[in-house]
Amino acid sequence: MIFDNAPALVVIFPLIAAVAVPFIGYYNKRLIPYFVTLITFCSLIFSISNLRTVMQTGSISYTMGGWEPPFGIEYAIDYLNGFVSIVVIFIIFIVSIYAKKSVEQELPGRTINFYTVFLLLTAGLQGLIVTGDLFNIYVFLEISSIAAYALISVGKSRDALMASMNYLIIGTVSASFILLGIGYLYMVTGTLNMADLADRLPLAFDERPKVVLAAFAFFLVGFSIKVGLFPLHTWMPDAYSLAPSAVSAMLASTFTKVAAYVMIRVMFTIFKPDFIISTVHAHTILAWLAAIAIIAGSVLAIAQTDFKRMLAYSSVSQIGYIILGVALMNQIAMTGGIIHIMNHGIMKAALFMVAGAIIYKTGIRNINDFKGLGKTMPYTSAAFTLVALSMIGIPPTVGFVSKWYLALGAIEAGMWVFVGVIMLSSLLNIVYFWRVFENMYFYRAEGGKVDEVPLSMLLPILILAALTFLLGVLALYPLKEIMAPMVQIILPG
């Protein structure tokens, strides 16, 4: 059955398709967007089949070329990465529908190049998620990073080139740190398989504690850069605001989330929670950094007048939520953190798509020029309103669900100050989204004729906006089924 090989196919499908795109483009350029959407849809099916297998028969261990782990490369899928894989490929699928018109306008004549790199990024991200091999993480991280640099650099403004260059430099340094961390771990354990590493690490730590500590430090810094945790977020606002619309939507909603997932994986599966709590105390540092990120990101977002830049700074603060949930070290907060990977992915994709839609129709980026958009682009504005409410955390949207879990987790950890941080940041969220509402709905603009974006751009926005609402309701029951074993895997409690 083809679904027996689904763990490998989620990576290989987009990878081979990336090579196929130029050939199809040579035959007929107009076919490419449909082809890419089809490929991402197939990947989505494979991802769902993976999670289904996990739910029915337990974790999947897929070996490459018949080499048994820990010698060969293993793709290991459990509840956590099965779930993240579906979230990521679903968003990419939605973005690929949206990208057709957007790319036609923003990158005329470069469809082939765009979609090739787009699929490479997809393959890299899926590889990062499903792999069970530490060195594979480095390789996939670089595949997806290189694709991301290339995609950012084709933004309209020439500043996009510098944004991409800065991202390239800081991203390569972070990947090098991760490579060093891998080397240190390999030095003391002699293995690269993640499950095997986890078994051998306690012994290695007893023998050579300094090497393991150095490795942990390298991983922490390396992944913090990739995630965009506050003091290391500097590449993010430029990269997200200057990239083409479809790319912003894809990168902001998937890349940092996948990096956050890998960070969780390395911290909790390889180094155990006990190691983090009692040996390095990294959770305290991370929690405070996350709190600072939440506040600072929101404050900086208020200061922006460029819509996309505001969303990028809001990403800085949302990453803070995910890391806060991870760093509080209890199951409830962890549920909040992981569910926020999905929630923020959906919300940020929708918001950047709205930004892209507005730029597509009117070319406006400045929030103060949004006057009357509520009249001229009613559906886009309505979708924006729903998603923005979710970002603020109004029940029963998804934003409320993750904030609720995070607040409960902070209370359980006895850290009331973080409850205050979450409250304060919700208020700040209202401030910066309110300016947009105000300009959209409370001013009358001349003209005022309905002038919406094409359906292939509108539909993805509406689907995601509806999902922020639906998933918030569903989070009560169906999601809990997946979340409980997922959290149990990373943080046995």
Binding site: F135, E142, Y149, S153, M165, L168, V173, L180, Y186, L192
Partner: protein, 119 residues
């Protein structure tokens, strides 16, 4: 003391020194090409680190010799670094392509001048 700390571990000292040189170039140099060169030194230092951890004292090259009891060096770090080199080359290629585009658009590759042109 000194022999233990420096001479016996000279390979690690070389890698750390090289890495810091590369890191310095990445942070301090104004010229984008020099930054990319710094990145290359930085990653090459890590490759040297990997290659040196694969070494086994008295080991021979890892080609199986039939019927003889010999010590081999560990080939895995070397193989990993082959992949690492490929990655590094791709990064350099993308970076240089970007620099060419930056030069076409801004007319300079000095970072401070570009920042002035940007605002």
């Amino acid at each position: 003391m000194i022999e233990d700390l420096i001479l016996a571990k000279y390979n690690y000292w070389i890698y750390v020194t090289l890495m810091m040189i590369g890191f310095y170039a990445v942070i301090a140099k104004n010229n984008l090409v020099k930054k990319v060169i710094g990145l290359n030194i930085f990653s090459t230092a890590i490759f040297l680190f990997y290659i040196s951890i694969g070494d086994v004292i008295g080991g021979t090259e890892p080609i199986y010799i039939h019927g003889e009891d010999v010590v081999y060096v560990n080939p895995i770090p070397h193989v990993l670094i082959l992949t690492g080199i490929v990655v590094s080359v791709s990064i350099t290629a993308v970076a240089l392509a970007l620099i060419i585009k930056i030069y076409e658009e801004f007319g300079t590759i000095e970072e401070d001048q570009i920042l002035e042109l940007q605002s």
